[in-house]
Amino acid sequence: MTLTDPLPDLRWVDIDVDGALAETEAAAAPWTRADFLRGGLGALLGSLAVPALAGAASKPDRGDVAILNYALTLEELQAAFYTETEQANALKGETKVQARVVGGHERAHVKAFRDVLGSKAGKQPSFDFRGVTENEDDFRRTAVAFEDLAVAAYKAQAPAIRSKAYLAAAIGIHSVEARHAGWIRRLAGRSPVNTAFDEPISATRVRAIVAKTNFVTSSPKTGTKKGSPRFTG
């Protein structure tokens, strides 16, 4: 296993996957969907996420709205990817469990951001994942790239969030994206952790990386300069 993996880049066809762990890939996870629904989703409802976002004392200011909309778009991209993967039904074993569990998380994130943004939420883009949801290797490579990217994207925005409630929620989502990243990297035969310090990636750079994938076929209405986060980290 290499410890010097490249940083996330959604040009997944260029990523050299180290297969050292591939042969010993874990069998199906010992916990079941029932466990997940009981422990995962149930606990989510009682956790920080939605209450913190929904319970913010005042409406988000313009800067926070831009950041939340940016996060929403990233979450929609991920949620759509996992949902399409589940529908394609080409995964097996623990990778299949990962897609189901993580897809549930990303959809919950989308809902939380949509709820708090209300009428200020951007329109959902359209996506075309160009077949990467239809086989396990492509799925894993893309999922690794998405999750590493999400971690870096949240990291760049967190210090610019003004509302403490939104910051607390964003930080709690940031570490979950990092858990997702560690998990799928292991399943992809890569080291779950690259270095001792994860670096941020600015919104400008994230947009450029996402644009290169051609996964987004229509942009949301708020994708204008005015709607962009002011801090790009």
Binding site: T4, P6, L7, D9, L21, T24, A26, A29, W31, D35, F36, G39, G40, L41, A43, L44, S47, L48, A49, D61, V101, V102, H105, A108, H109, V151, K155, A156, A158, P159, R162, L167, A168, I171, G172, I173, H174, S175, V176, A178, R179, A181, G182, W183, R185, P192, V193, T195, A196, F197, D198, E199, P200, S202, T204, R205, R230, F231, T232, G233
Partner: protein
């Protein structure tokens, strides 16, 4: 660094080059050493953030001292486990890789405290570093705890200190997912991680019995 050069610094190099990341960290440490973490790291962010903030350099320092306890505990735990040599296969690999990360975190936080780091506590891990089963159980607990401790401090930190802490917390989260998967537990049990405040973390640390009085 103004916003323009920040962007240039991020987008102007290939993100797949490890030396660039090392450069970033070295620069971070240099500036932290020269001007104090809060002031140096994010002057631009601080200046632009006009919202209600109770964070301050002294609060940052207090949080850093607290973080240092957790990082030292983790680093000592893995160092002892590696030295004892009872781990096998991927669990041993995990302990080596994560132990090295935690040592870097200790060095980073110590340096950010600019000579004011408290004396290191003494630790006693019992069979948690000699039995693989106990090791895995303890590692899950320590990684989940470290992550929750950082998350719980996020809203107390200045934006600059938060930017630094965020680089560490996601690495702790990767560790947590890795060891949970090895332990047969869900790597990401919640859609949003629950933070713990300082009192909760200190109580959890006390319950482990790993820190000698």
């Amino acid at each position: 660094m103004d916003q323009g050069s920040r962007d240039a610094a991020v987008s102007g190099h290939s993100l797949s080059e490890a030396p660039v990341r090392r450069w970033s960290r070295a620069a971070l440490l240099r500036r932290a050493g020269a001007g104090g973490l809060a002031v140096s790291l994010g002057g631009a962010l601080l200046a632009r953030r006009s919202g209600p903030a109770v964070s301050s350099p002294s609060v940052d320092a207090r949080v850093l001292q607290f973080a240092l306890i957790v990082e030292r505990l983790q680093a000592a735990f893995y160092a002892e486990a590696n030295k004892n040599g009872k781990l096998r296969g991927e669990v041993a690999e995990f302990s080596r890789v994560v132990g090295a990360n935690e040592r870097e975190h200790v060095a980073f936080v110590t340096k950010a405290l600019r000579g004011s780091a408290a004396a290191a506590p003494r630790f006693s891990f019992g069979d948690a570093t000699t039995s693989e089963k106990q090791f895995v159980r303890s590692a899950v607990e320590l990684e989940d705890l470290g992550l929750a401790a950082y998350n719980g401090q996020a809203t107390n930190l200045s934006p600059a200190a938060l930017a630094a802490a965020a680089k560490i917390v996601s690495v702790e989260a990767r560790h947590a997912a890795w060891i949970r998967d090895l332990a047969g537990k869900p790597p990401a049990p919640l859609a949003v991680d629950k933070p713990l405040d300082e009192a909760q973390v200190r109580a959890a640390l006390k319950r482990t019995g790993y820190i000698k009085p």
